[in-house]
Amino acid sequence: MRKKLAITGNEAVAYAMKQINPDVVAAYPITPATEIVQIFSQYVADGEVNTEFVAVESEHSAMSATIGASAAGSRAMTATSSQGLALMFEMLYIASALRLPIVMPEVNRSLSAPINIHADHSDTMGARDCGWLQIYCENSQEAYDSLIQAVRIAEESLLPIMVTIDGFIISHAMEAVDTFDNKEVQNFIGKYKPAHPLLDIKHPITIGAIDFNDYYFEHKRSQIEAMNNVEPVILKINEEFKKSFGRGYGLFEEYMMQDAETAIVVIGSTAGTAKVAVDNLRKQGKKVGLLRLRVFRPFPAEKLSKALSHLKAVAVLDRSTGMNAYAGPVCTEVASSLYTHSDLPASQQAGKKPKILNYIYGLGGRDIFVEDIQKVYVDLENVAKGEKTEKLINYIGVRE
């Protein structure tokens, strides 16, 4: 039966996991993702899932065991956050290169030091180039829906996927979430049919062989191609999801973008705050818009740059820093996509690309307010008018 539940982000994630009913879950607790593991253990203890739950001794082993379970031919999941993801780093690359369709909810939290348990995107942004698909959710509903979609996306593309929510802001906040019937979820994800399961004794295979310089490049090239091909898979599965459940999500969400002259690009829960800012400014007649980037891997460079190329100025909000003495990770990718892709023919591009500003905000869970975002739009308006900006990077809400 479909049910509207008042649940937190973590509860929504755990509930989706229960309905996915994976064969194996190997996980380790870490704030703010701990509840996912706890709630799921209870489902196991109550016999509500068929899952073999492996309470591993670290996140490195969580990912290792999940990799083993997935290679064995089972549907395998884990969940983590922050330091846990950092500890998995080595294994993230192995999961993706072995082409294992692992699904992992990730609760975004800052990275030590200083130790801090609150939301920013340093953890998953640090793992942005490890060959995993990444979907950043705005709210619990989207996290629930995206996890169900993620199973299909991973299994069709043979790439692992992380679905993220902002720590505490989403993971611990209560929201109304429309949930589906167990059967509907099972019908949508279907039965997992691995092509080459390790446990197929009759067809023994060797997984994880060593490549020297005569093969490594080809194997990496094919992995790159898998990443290149996944965008249409995400869109197709989203269409099917819409058909089954009446709602869906694209690679990114455009809010008041059609006639906008300036816009903000943001990921995660801050989009909700930014939409309020847009509404306020629209009431004042300002032509402002918002683009919420949802799928960060694969990076939808072409579509994104087309969606932005008509603007006069764009501000990219980053909830992490690249520590590259240049700009945050979202900004560098948005900027480079605008440089390499555009709606306009090359001959007409000169001087037509939108100006770009980068704002670093919210590190370690520092709040961001509607007024902060409205102030960004004021900056954008000035830049659009031709006013010179002193800096590419600005910081919101920090004591300098």
């Binding site: 064995a72 004794i201 023994p204």
Partner: protein, 311 residues
């Protein structure tokens, strides 16, 4: 227990043509374990010589399903595979009588050091798997660096012999006892060179409904500086000098599986290996005596644990 003749008729599970050195103890361990283990098998390996030399793409020496993912996580990887097996069996995707045996191989680096945590975790959780450490007492794959299994006085490239240092200064860790402390159904020490002892232990280990661990002392011609044709002799001598006593702990009960007729002095073993060459130079007499004392002390303790009379 199978006879040597019976074993020789078994189909090889580790095919020839791999790139391990002539005289390598690790391939002997793998072959003897795999020949004896009841089939079907699924094998995992930690990064190390055995893994690297047997799976150079597009070739593989492994006749059964085999997986490697990283260095420190072979036990964790195997526990994931074994959990998938339990889950799929429970759900009817795999037949209930599939009876797969899970075996993991790791070198001493991947077992004593970087992989100790994942091994401990897997043993504590009780996965039904046999972990075999082929213990060549150093990181051989990366060029003979010390591990916590390297014996005192041993030369390695990170415990080199120098003007002021006599090789490794510390004693080796007693991993077998650490595994015993996990209260798993079967723990044993074996050695390359005593096939009957090793294969008997593999069969016992796999008959248990739970995790088991066998620590096999495995000569490495390159790292130990010994003649390749002496691998088996050196292994046996390690048992006869009590440098590596052969024993087992079954359901908590200690048993000596080989009592040397006459306990040989340690220098006999050390002399066959270049890694201990410097110990025989003037000035190192005290260190040699200390090594013998350490062995005697440990042996006495083991005899006591096994309920044997002290010599």
């Amino acid at each position: 227990m199978p006879s040597l003749k019976e074993l020789s008729k078994e189909k090889e599970s580790l095919s020839g043509g791999h790139r391990l050195c002539a005289g390598c103890g690790a391939s002997i361990v793998a072959r003897q374990v795999l020949l004896t283990a009841p089939k079907p098998l699924v094998v995992t390996c930690a990064t190390g010589c055995l893994e690297v030399a047997t799976t150079i793409f597009p070739y593989t020496a492994w006749e059964m399903p085999w997986m490697h993912s990283a260095f420190e996580n072979a036990a964790a990887t195997c526990s994931g595979i074994e959990s998938a097996y339990q889950s799929l069996k429970k759900q009817g995707t795999l037949p209930v009588d599939a009876n797969i045996n899970f075996i993991t191989f790791g070198g001493d680096g991947g077992t004593y050091d970087i992989g100790l945590q994942s091994l401990s975790g897997a043993m504590e959780r009780g996965h039904k798997m046999l972990y075999v450490c082929y213990n060549n007492q150093a990181y051989m794959n990366t060029g003979i660096q010390r591990s916590s299994a390297t014996p005192k006085g041993g030369f390695t490239t990170t415990s080199p012999v120098g003007k002021v240092k006599p090789g490794k200064e510390q004693s080796r860790k007693d991993l077998t006892e650490i595994m015993v402390a996990h209260n798993i159904p079967y723990v044993a020490q074996a050695v390359v060179g005593d096939w009957r002892d090793l294969t008997t232990k593999v069969q016992k280990a796999l008959s248990k409904d739970g995790p088991s661990f066998i620590n096999v002392l495995t000569p490495c011609r390159l790292g130990w500086g010994c003649a390749p044709e002496k691998t088996l002799d050196i292994g046996r001598l390690a048992a006869d000098t009590c440098f590596w006593p052969l024993y087992e702990v079954e359901e908590g009960v200690y048993k000596l599986t080989h009592k040397p007729k006459e306990k040989k002095p340690i220098i006999k073993l050390l002399k066959l290996q270049d890694r201990f060459k410097h110990l025989f130079k003037k000035g190192n007499e005290a260190l040699l005596a200390e090594i013998q004392e350490d062995i005697d002390k440990k042996w006495k303790k083991l005899l006591f644990l096994c309920g044997e009379k002290s010599e």
